[in-house]
Amino acid sequence: MSLRTAIVILYKTNIVVLAALVAGCSQSLTLQVDSAVPAALMQTLPLTVAVYYDDALRNHSFTEDSKERKNWAISTGPSQVAMFDQVLASTFTNVLPITQLPNANAPTAADLVVVPTIQEMQFGTPEETFFDFYEAWIRYDISMLDPHGAPLDNWEIVTYGKANQKRFSSRSSGLNDAIALALRDAGAKLSTGIHKQPVVRRLLNEQR
């Protein structure tokens, strides 16, 4: 290998290393949230509930392209659906997934229709807040409809997740942990609070 070739290789290697370092420091973020919410330890409520996830929830993705958060894309849809499936299945005796909302002509054979939607999602990172942890907030709206699709009630749930910043771990990992904890919190609030909703209480009373 000639000296000239060696210099060229060294030069190219430095460019690759520099590019990798710049990429590592870049503000862009693409994250597919990976979380697992366990089954809820509940005495199941003796109701049949139909659950409808709209496309906005199924394919939910938080996107932001600002000066501080350049090209952020955080996909939570599959994790959201998995959380609701898991928690509702362990809270009610029967859960029917439906792909279309019922109407007067096509009612569903359930006592109640539940339609969860995400209203808002916010994040906090150590670079922004100067705390040693990542944070995630999610605001849900849980719409409750009768078997004919008529609205009965709405229930707002605000959930929060906080994950300590770990040494040598990435921003993606920290945000994933915070979102996973916010999803656990959502499942906890849903499973421990839904029986207190007036509509559900009325339906449970009618069952007795």
Partner: protein, 231 residues
Amino acid sequence: MNYLGRGHLCSTTGLSLCICCAFAILLVGCRTTTTVDEYRVASTTIATHEAIVVLGRRHDMDKDTEHDFIQCVGRSLSTSASHLHVIPEADFVDALYPWFEVSTAPMDVANLDRLVQNPAIAAKFEELKIRYFVWIDGFTETTDSAGSITCVIGPGGGGCLGFKSWDDEANYEASIWDLKDASVAGKINTETAGTSFVPAVIIPIPLLARVKATACNAMSDQLLSFIVGGT
């Protein structure tokens, strides 16, 4: 020649002595100090088939109790001579989901007693044979730091020069709840402090005070003595 040789030897010995003394001083400085307080309300005992669960408090907006500290205490208790059966925190919280999440966990024994009224929870406690809950609240933090180290690298090599030190403090409080009697059996408080140094003459040499590890050992030893010791 002899004089010169002796002089050289003397200066080398002197330098070695100086370095040894400096390291000895630094090592002494690296030592951690721990204060342990125990407050017992009731006598304790545990059968071989009964289990303990060690949980961290994470409801404050401030720093959370570290998961690794809780794991360390749990591991120390289960590997002790008494071989206590400690259920790992993550396993317990998943098994009891959603009742021990940050937003739903009982903050006092009265609330735990209310939880036990739920047949599903009572059955799970019975299945896991839980006798004691140990709730640990606190964290380790760096309270002060001083000095700096500068490193340079060039075509002929590189090196560092400087001195850095910092103080760590670990404050943890454990509250021991007896599930059988639905009461607080007692509390243990540990306060550990230590200073770490990094002198750098060409190579930085970290002389670290293992504050969190020392706090973990102190807490585990005291918990073991509290639970197994009895009265």
